[in-house]
Symmetry: C2
Subunit: 483 residues, 2 copies
């Protein structure tokens, strides 16, 4: 028989006592959170919402008819689900239309290229742009060129995005998309073409905003599908001059009115003026039907709130769902929300955004005051059973929450498996069939558990030190800008 | 110590003796075949040929500029590799051009559909066709409708192709493509749209010939990507009338001259007038660059022959590589070859066609005279080490060999892993990056081993009983037509 040393027994009781003393989330809140979590795992609402949004509204880029249809859909949906204070807050958005595009290699070996215009691209002249192509692999290589190299030519930035769980390759690629053309134009290039900022091996090129801080673009820009970038790179490797004919007709129409769509579960009692903010964006790019970006987010946060609503017994704090307008092409909804609510940002005790598809959550990160970390750890203990590790305290919180987070609002960050996210994101392929129902539900479970606890407990998450930096520029110094 | 019963020992010697007596393929031929097989597994020619064809020629549909470029490429390539009697045999081909297409659901929930015209489709009127959609799931369901059901409407045949190792789902789907529109037109439909005859989950719809025996089509037809067929099916399931606006501009141009491209390794000695026929098709559809269909086949059979050529010591029979014109849209090259060589089809001792991509060969089937099966089994014993099982004696031999096989020419059939073939086949996605070099080489190894032995041994494979059936019609009785 093994003997347990006395000091070990003493240590056990000491720790058990400490643990009881340290517990911040009350037992009944924990129990209800677990019930909600388990309910979410076998839920059907999230998928049904996403199906309805993608199949009945579909593409909904800022200012388009689909955008207006999405706002109407969201208001009706929120009212139908029984949320309180359902309302829209007007957001002025740009209205850019893709038009058509054709791209062909004309020499040395004529072939068609599958391409799509980048968001915000001006049109080519009607006869197109026909010029020699100069290839670089990075933004720094592009910046190192002069007008002797690029004048009168087409810059081709051939940067490969590898598939990765954390979607890590996207950051540098999207930086090329939103900064490369300014550098190319400065050096006299007539147009920029890039390898898609995505990992798809299918011929569905990847769009996305080409603008940095809404600064207009001077030259047309387009992305090639990966196979087409391979083709262009192959022909360049022969050493013969390679010419491309690019013809595209995107255009700006007058600005439109869109809206953030808001619904609430009003808090019950003394903390009702404090807000737990659940965020996703309602707009999508125009190519796909916006299933992963960001129909999934809309479905996740709305369903998390709906499950809490259906308990019948509202938490102490107000849970506010905000479906933001125009995240994709200028983050106008987020900026407008910040302006509208600037006086009460300090009442926003925590923000949770969902905008990375419906891949399984594998990590629960945060950005909260140091002394609130134990609460986050307690919440995490309820997420561990659904496969979620504890992350660090450096979560970015997401694009739409950024103005509020920079003003001091703490955030949670659910890191999702992004292995396939950039196969579909911003392409024709962003459609409902890419969604796994179980993974979607696991996301809902993560959001509902944490939002319910945050809205139910006495404590809050402190405030963050405000981030007073200005806008991120396209200078090389800002390339590694940390969020 | 175990004792071996005497009768077992006797049996062993009996079998060993029988085995020696039965061996038809001489040891030196076996040894040389194994050397060629192992050389093929680490070869680079096949990939280089395929890279050159897809990157420098690209799409090469019958009658197009790419078709002419492919013929020139193939002649130069065959001469460059050192084949003898390199020549073209003229083939008259139709010239159908895809033009543009747009398809939209206009009610109940307006959305764009990603579609492509089927090969041979006439154009819609300039204003398009705008009509209600009637959905069926099969050819028989379509045939069961009347003009009361379909008159003035658009028929939507929503048949799903599941991904399968043997590509089995394609047969029924391609039958819908090439027969459905005749039935729909007979019943007064204005157009036919089908779910793509492919398993891709990407928005790259699947084209292919819509004609049965070159009978012209009366109504336009188009294929939807799978996600778009899902969208249309969803909207139909709401029970509301669904209308689609289809506008397309394909057209026929005057017939063109194309060619079968032929190169040989002339046989050495008494059997030189006998032919081992290696076949693939040079044309492709116009959407992709024809890497899997059938650039891979071109690379496989050409490289197999090249490896034999490079031994320096030609086999007894002539090895003839034929790269056929226009397999995709009427099999004109195969028909022309048959006409040109009708008098000497009986000198074609065996045919080997490669036209199912570059998936790993997992089975070696055949269609030879019964008394030649032991030779096939002996060849198989050399293919077993590279992962190939022995199949049955019912191989079809491939589309281009069909006229010769029906006239009595025996064939080998290398069954490839087709799990992903119909993800890419006949779509924009048929590009070089879908090719696995090792799998491509394993194909070359299978072809070179068997072709070398067939060309080197004394024996032949007998003749098949001629297949005297006429052309396969679109009647239901021909639905399950066996090849």
């Amino acid at each position: 028989m093994n003997r347990i040393p006395l000091q070990r027994v003493a240590m056990f009781f000491l720790l058990a006592t400490l643990s009881v003393q340290a517990q911040i989330v009350p037992d009944d809140v924990r129990a209800n959170a677990v019930t909600l979590r388990d309910l979410a795992m076998r839920d059907t609402i999230a998928y049904e919402l996403l199906e309805s949004l993608t199949m009945e509204v579909g593409p909904r880029s800022a200012g388009s008819a689909g955008d207006a249809a999405a706002v109407a859909w969201a208001v009706q949906m929120m009212q139908g689900l029984g949320f309180q204070n359902v309302r829209t807050e007007e957001v002025r958005v740009p209205h850019w239309e893709r038009g058509s595009i054709s791209a062909h290699i004309t020499a040395p070996f004529p072939q068609r290229l599958v391409a799509t215009s980048l968001g915000g691209s001006p049109a080519t002249p009607e006869e197109g742009i026909h010029a020699e192509v100069v290839r670089v692999e990075s933004l720094n290589e592009l910046r190192a060129l002069t007008s002797d190299d690029l004048g009168g030519k087409i810059a081709f930035v051939d940067h490969v995005v590898e598939r990765a769980k954390d979607g890590g390759g996207y950051s540098a690629a999207s930086r090329i998309r939103s900064c490369g053309h300014y550098a190319a134009a400065d050096r006299g290039a007539l147009a920029m073409i890039i390898r898609s900022a995505g990992s798809s091996v299918h011929r569905v090129p990847h769009t996305g905003s080409m603008l940095n801080n809404s600064i207009p673009a001077d030259i047309p820009a387009a992305a090639l599908a990966n196979a087409d970038a391979d083709l262009l790179a192959y022909q360049l490797k022969t050493g013969k001059p390679v010419t491309v004919h690019l013809k595209s007709s995107p255009r700006y129409l007058p600005d439109e009115k869109s809206a953030n769509v808001i619904g609430e579960i009003p808090g019950r009692g003394d903390l009702a003026d404090e807000i737990v903010l659940l965020a996703a964006h309602l707009d999508s790019w125009d190519l796909g039907t916006g299933a992963i970006d960001d129909g999934a987010g809309v479905a996740i946060v709305t369903t998390a709130a709906k499950l809490i609503l259906d308990r019948g017994d509202a938490p102490r704090r107000t849970i506010r769902v905000v479906l933001f307008a125009n995240e994709e092409f200028g983050k106008d909804g987020a900026k407008q929300y910040y302006r509208n609510h600037a006086e009460v940002i300090d009442k926003h005790v925590i923000g949770l955004e969902a905008d990375f598809g419906a891949g399984r959550v594998w990590e629960f990160a945060s950005r909260v005051a140091e002394d609130a970390l134990t609460i986050v750890d307690e919440i995490h203990s309820l997420l561990e059973p659904i496969g979620i590790e504890r992350g660090n305290n450096k979560a970015s919180g997401g694009a739409d929450l950024s103005p509020m987070r920079k003003a001091g609002m703490p955030v949670f960050g659910f890191t999702q498996d992004g292995t396939y996210y950039f196969d579909y994101h911003h392409t024709l392929d962003d459609t409902l069939d890419k969604i796994d129902r179980d993974d979607l539900n696991q996301n809902v479970a993560a959001y509902v558990t944490s939002a319910f606890i945050a809205a139910s407990i006495e404590q809050d998450f402190g405030r963050l030190v405000p981030d007073t930096r200005g806008d991120r520029s396209c200078s090389a110094a800002d390339d590694d800008w940390a969020t």
